[in-house]
């Protein structure tokens, strides 16, 4: 079973994502801050991270860079209400970018696509 780490500062959003992704058949762990996220990243070794960019303690893009420096093969889907960041080249290290919405179909589709490609392109 693939493991997903959900990083979002809002408890309700974390809960929603956790339930929805579990329904999709993933194992889900969640973190509310950048610090928590990095610890969970090391401890849980998730197959994929859903990462919000605005975090209370730091910038999600820094978290992204840190994760990539710890594990070159980490898969990260950025998830933010700001479409602006899509054009930010710092975001380009991520596998995908999904604008935050209450409709989670795009996010789920993207996660599925990234994880199914994993086998096809080892080592990124």
């Amino acid at each position: 079973m693939k493991k997903i780490l959900v990083v979002d500062d809002e408890a309700h959003v974390r809960r929603l994502y956790t339930e929805e992704l579990k329904d999709e058949g993933y194992e889900v762990v969640a973190a509310g801050t950048g610090d928590e996220a990095l610890r969970a990243f090391d401890r849980e070794r998730p197959d994929l991270v859903v990462l919000d960019i605005r975090l209370p303690d730091c910038d999600g893009l820094d978290v992204l860079n840190e994760m990539l420096s710890r594990r070159r093969d980490a898969h990260v889907v950025l998830n933010s209400a700001y479409p602006a960041f899509r054009a930010d080249f710092h975001s380009w290290g991520a596998d995908a970018y999904v604008v935050k919405s209450s409709d989670l179909r795009e996010l789920k589709r993207t996660i599925g696509a990234v994880l199914s490609l994993e086998g096809a392109s080892p080592g990124r």
Binding site: V13, R15, P83, A84, F85, R86, F89, S102
Partner: protein
């Protein structure tokens, strides 16, 4: 007694001289008035030449005016007045004979009667143009020394006068300096091609006086022109400053509005995700027939609408341009229309696309530009609720590339067209009112502008104008 017969003629000669003197003085005064009345340099030059040739003035057949250029490199033929043959001369002189006795009236009559007759003289004056380092030339000598020279028919043509004599086709001519406060401005050349009359001492003196007046008038006219230019420049600078200030005020207002909107949007986005997301979860679990599922659908849809508004606000504040590359404008337009094809079909909007394939690639942020085009196209479709025609075209326009989006929709009232680019301005019940604001922001960030034309009940035309030169900020 014996002295009587002698005194008579002498006295007459004296009276005759006196009358001539006073006539000449009156002419000079009149020349002064005429010249200083003209403020445009062209008018001054013409007045100088007309008075040089007028019977009431210096009475020469033809007159040519040459002025030194600002860099002091050449003496350039500026303007000439005079007939090219006896027939033309008669026509002009007859016309002038009808005119009033004053120089002013004469100048007026000359202007009216000559028309384009002095084309030939003007050709000649251009050929008189001479570099100022050619010190062997009579024109340059007069210009440099500031003294009059007369080429006399009675003696062989001196070498320095040969060029001018050849150009003018006469042996005899006078060259007088046009002097002003700061030295020589140019030279006035005159000849008597038609009458072949010899130059009198008095005639040359009159020419000198005229040239002297002319110098001051030319200097004045030049000063006035410089002044007018400066005033004009100042006016333009002021206008530019005012525009900049308006832009600044607008930008400031926008940024204040934007900042507040972003704060609100940021606070609202996460609760919306939770509300909408959990509603969707409830909907999945609820049997279709349960009447409460209708309520849940309303919540879901309203949340989606709010999310769209919030998204628009957050979109508006994103950095204007970030990923710049050489962009095919035609491709941008094509993809935008592809994305809208379903929407067009549903709205029964016929699309026609006309891409000019010669439109060059420009440095642009493709995604943002597409967004701008999409916004305008989407607006156009929404302006045609009962169907219509959407025409999109690209075309080069000198230093610009144009993207034109035309619809046959409801149009925009003239009192609203100014405001359509303001953020949160909308005439629709749905929508964020940010579409056009974002569009104009994106286009302005590319150094371009969006132009809107519209007629109520006929349709609207939006033109995105993008500079070819890289100006992305």
């Amino acid at each position: 007694m014996s002295s009587k017969p002698d005194r008579g003629p002498r006295r007459r000669a004296y009276l005759f001289d006196e009358r001539r003197e006073s006539l000449a003085l009156r002419r000079i005064a009149e020349i002064g008035l005429l010249l200083h009345g003209a403020t445009r340099l062209d008018d001054v030059l013409r007045a100088v030449l007309v008075t040089a040739t007028a019977r009431q003035g210096a009475g020469m057949n033809r007159a040519y005016l040459l002025l030194g250029d600002e860099e002091g490199r050449i003496l350039r033929g500026e303007m000439a007045v005079g007939p090219s043959n006896a027939e033309e001369a008669n026509q002009i002189w007859n016309a002038l004979h009808e005119s009033g006795p004053s120089l002013t009236e004469m100048a007026e009559a000359y202007r009216n009667s000559v028309g384009r007759r002095d084309v030939r003289a003007n050709e000649l004056v251009r050929r008189l143009t001479v570099p100022l380092d050619d010190t062997a030339d009579i024109l340059v000598q007069v210009y440099r020394l500031g003294t009059t020279m007369v080429a006399d028919a009675s003696s062989p043509i001196p070498s320095e006068a040969q060029r001018v004599a050849a150009v003018l086709g006469v042996r005899e001519f006078a060259v007088v300096p046009v002097l002003a406060r700061k030295g020589s401005l140019g030279v006035l050349v005159a000849d008597n091609l038609i009458t072949r009359r010899a130059f009198s001492k008095r005639g040359v003196e009159l020419l000198e006086l005229l040239a002297c007046q002319a110098g001051l008038a030319i200097e004045n006219a030049r000063l006035q022109e410089t002044l007018a230019q400066k005033v004009d420049e100042l006016g333009r600078a002021y206008e530019a400053l005012r525009e900049e200030q308006e832009k600044l005020v607008r930008a400031e207002r926008l940024s204040a509005v934007g900042e507040m909107a972003v704060r609100v949007a940021h606070e609202v986005r996460n609760p919306l995700v939770s509300i909408g997301g959990f509603t969707r979860r409830l909907l999945v679990e609820m049997p279709e027939k349960d009447p409460r599922s209708e309520y849940l659908r309303i919540i879901r849809d309203e949340v989606a609408r709010l999310e769209q508004i919030v998204g628009g606000v957050l979109d508006y504040v994103r950095p204007p341009v970030s990923a710049v590359g050489m962009t095919d404008i035609n491709a941008v337009v094509r993809t935008s229309l592809d994305l809208l094809s379903t929407q067009c079909d549903q709205a029964e909007v016929k699309v026609s696309l006309c891409c000019d394939e010669t439109v060059p690639f420009i440095a642009a942020d493709e995604a943002r530009l597409r967004q701008a085009v999409l916004n305008l196209c989407r607006n156009a479709i929404q302006a045609m609720p009962d169907g219509g025609r959407l025409e999109v075209s690209t075309l080069p326009d000198r230093d610009w590339v144009l993207i034109r989006i035309e619809d046959t929709g409801v149009g925009i009232a003239s009192d609203q067209i100014e405001r359509i680019f303001a953020p949160f301005y909308t005439t629709r019940s749905q929508g964020t009112g940010l579409g056009l604001a974002i569009t104009s922001q994106v286009v302005e960030a590319h150094g371009g502008r969006v132009e809107a034309e519209s007629e109520r009940g006929v349709g609207s035309r939006f033109t995105i104008r993008l500079p070819l030169k890289e100006q992305v900020s």
